[in-house]
Symmetry: D2
């Protein structure tokens, strides 16, 4: 018997209800032109929410670390322009206050799932939060990390499976869809899937999107860039807007088959 | 660009074509009554082929090791009765000759994927063979093991993803559906999925069946027992015939969504 | 050809030179009586430095989280009493300033190895830092995290292997001593070993201490509690002072065999 | 409290007693000249037993598969010449009879640890057997595989740790020395270590040999080739005879430190 999911609402969107929410956007926000171009493209194909990195956690200290506060105005403009809510990652507890009014959803990245100082700080705001599974986190540890976010009475937690580290190397990580199904059966959190980081190979992302929808995930988060080969981070796994559009078209009948439908952009509902 | 799959035909069934083949049956054949009961039940729900262990590989030497040659007559009777082809596992090169006329498809189990003596012996027969992925085999090693089977001009190889060993423990193994998609894009072998061993938790098997169908697998192999709690092996992960039937009903619309259909039992096609 | 290690000096102790430094103490500081008792015991057996958790990262939000700032005075008193330098973990960039004068060495725990905000903040202080390997960090990622600490000209970085997450479950983690040897051959950082977290089973800690010394590690960090069964955290893996003393006695001839010796407590050298 | 090891005697050598046995030789026997050259070199440096592959299990069907029965005479000549017993791997139950008189110890390789047909056949001979741990075998599974060998009253079982598969890639596998210590504390089987396969990097093999001796292993098995770059298999990890000799010299004082000594070649004891 599956536990009933407690939906989380964000700016007119509902995660964990009958609608399936697709979040899309670039790995990192690079410029207004780039973020706006990608945002408009993914909205026209079916994305209902945007992603875009402001502060990036990079393994190598010499890699591009994100625009930081220089991206705040870009985020505001693109949100106004598209009407789509935006999720972005926090990497430091001191960013909580400054990002609070900039983004609609806080993201806790895989590398910070165990960063309990950050989780406590975020929990205190009660702002909707997307909690990625750590790269080597057991499901039970992931659910306990979610408890940190709920400790202050915050129920606005969405989980995100993004692949675990295993011995396999043809994919960047091993996407653990059985964990998605386990979470749906054993917790009340909505759960979405990130096949971009999960597999890291563009041609495998589409099939994993369909699989995620079929097994009961509540949505997807995908990296899209209008010119992947020029992306400043994660270039090798970004989809083009065309590839993204094709995936969405294949996704619609699978969602119908499991009695769900693609969430519309909130601007569509509200006359904004 | 996906590599075109080279279908494998077995007694009127085709793996790797537009039809999706479901294989079902008990982990181990325990008696004529048991195998016949399960076989008729799964056929009536949509299985097009049977599975049933004759020789079992067991981690603990005190566990039930299968009926061995005492199961040969049972297999022949149930095949005659249902008209369904049967796959069963070989665990020793000396079983090749004796099982050749008993089963329709040889199975190489996960623990024998690297047993190259066995692979060479099987290859020489050119009989259709189901090659399970080793519990810690990289995809490239799995494809090389398939090359052992092809070395004698045998093209009748079907791959089977059955979960890999990781740190996660809420599931028995971690079912690697991205490997299924990788194999479809990079090799010509049909590939099916074994969610029973892959996740080992009955309530998660159904969602993984739908996910496998959605991401492009060519079929499924499932453990079904008419009375799981009395099964002599893998009791904890066997589906009841009712649960199996419900999964098949949910599978049909997902297959339609990806433009495939459930393969009919061959007895249905041939007027046998 | 092994790369020459660049030693790190701390209050009269040298990591990475011919002397082998043993750090010991409780997982968490619980009270002045507890920390003082353990500190005196481990000093008398051969520890040259103390460990003791002030801020604890706990998987479960309901677990004991450490005394926090209430431990500062305890740390100062025990340092004065024993003359031993102290290492303790930082879990939040905002703790850098307050802990700067309390401890001699900052520890970055395994769960924070990827917390680059914290690493940057710590690097700016140039204070000696013990960087634990993340539970699923590849060696190359660990060395890149060390580069974050070196970015501000800080050369005072000591690495610590503490076990990686694998499928094995008879030990808490899998202690990767070949990584210790790899780091000695390919980087200039001193590297020590934490068998307490690495194996998590008291009877296996001693053999792993000897193995670490034999393969070239520059020291050890061990959890010791005068009454393990009453410890507020990691009770199951703490050594008693007696067990700790026995390990040190077995360690001495192994160190001689590899032409090293046990570092004396600095108070022994300096007449303090 | 450590379980007392039940020693296994082979041609005058004792595994699991106070003496530490070093087995060395090439990955594969390539010719009489090659095997004899390597055998004499390793004997003169301190090896008390020889290894040499007759039948090789290779991932790629196009790789060199060993000389097979053409190596039998070579083995007999080198055994006569050096007086050293020889261990070699069985890969098929049909090799048991033919290898019975050729080698002194049967080896079950990592890929066959789960090949229970082979284990049963070997057990029936009661010949001394070296059982390698499977690349992804949990320790409890390894001990159960040893039970298969003991099922026929065969007590002549020696275990061998040879590295497990993890996410780490700077080493070929992750050598799990804590498993060695666990087995010494919890079973009666002698256990040796194979650092050649465990780490696969020549410069790390020596440190791992010392670590194995320090933590209580009963011996080592090492790949040595007089000309590694021309070896037909495992060329990248073979030691030269000179490197092997240097490791043995470093090993002696570590063995003394743990109150053990290097086993002499049996020809030394017996006046042969």
């Amino acid at each position: 018997m599956q536990v009933e999911t407690r939906p989380v609402s964000i700016a007119g969107l509902r995660f964990g209800g009958p609608e399936f929410v697709v979040i899309a956007g670039p790995c990192a926000i690079e410029s207004l032109a780039q973020f706006s171009t990608v945002a408009r493209a993914v909205k026209s194909s079916g994305a209902a929410m945007l992603r875009g990195g402001i502060y990036k956690l990079r393994t190598d200290p010499r890699s591009f670390q994100g625009l930081g506060s220089a991206a705040f105005d870009i985020v505001r403009k693109v949100r106004d322009e598209t009407g789509l809510p935006i999720v972005s990652e926090l990497t430091d507890p001191r960013q909580v206050a400054e990002l609070y009014d900039v983004v609609d959803v806080f993201q806790i990245g895989a590398r910070n799932m165990h960063n309990y100082s950050l989780l406590k700080e975020v929990a205190a705001t009660r702002k909707p939060t997307l909690l990625k599974r750590g790269i080597s986190a057991k499901v039970e540890e992931w659910l306990l990390a979610a408890e940190y976010l709920c400790a202050e009475g915050n129920n606005n937690v969405i989980l995100c499976e993004r692949g675990i580290r295993t011995f396999e190397s043809v994919t960047r990580n091993t996407l653990d869809l059985s964990a998605v199904s386990y979470v749906k059966h054993n917790s009340r959190f909505p759960v979405i899937v990130d096949p971009s980081h999960g597999v890291g190979v563009p041609e495998l992302i589409g099939p994993m999107c369909l699989a995620a929808a079929a097994c009961g995930a509540d949505g997807l988060i995908l990296e899209v860039h209008h010119c992947p080969e020029r992306a400043l981070s994660d270039a090798q796994q970004a989809l083009t807007p065309e590839e993204f559009g094709e995936i969405i078209e294949k996704l619609r009948p699978v969602l119908s088959a499991v009695k769900r439908s693609l969430a519309m952009p909130p601007a569509y509902c509200a006359a904004s």
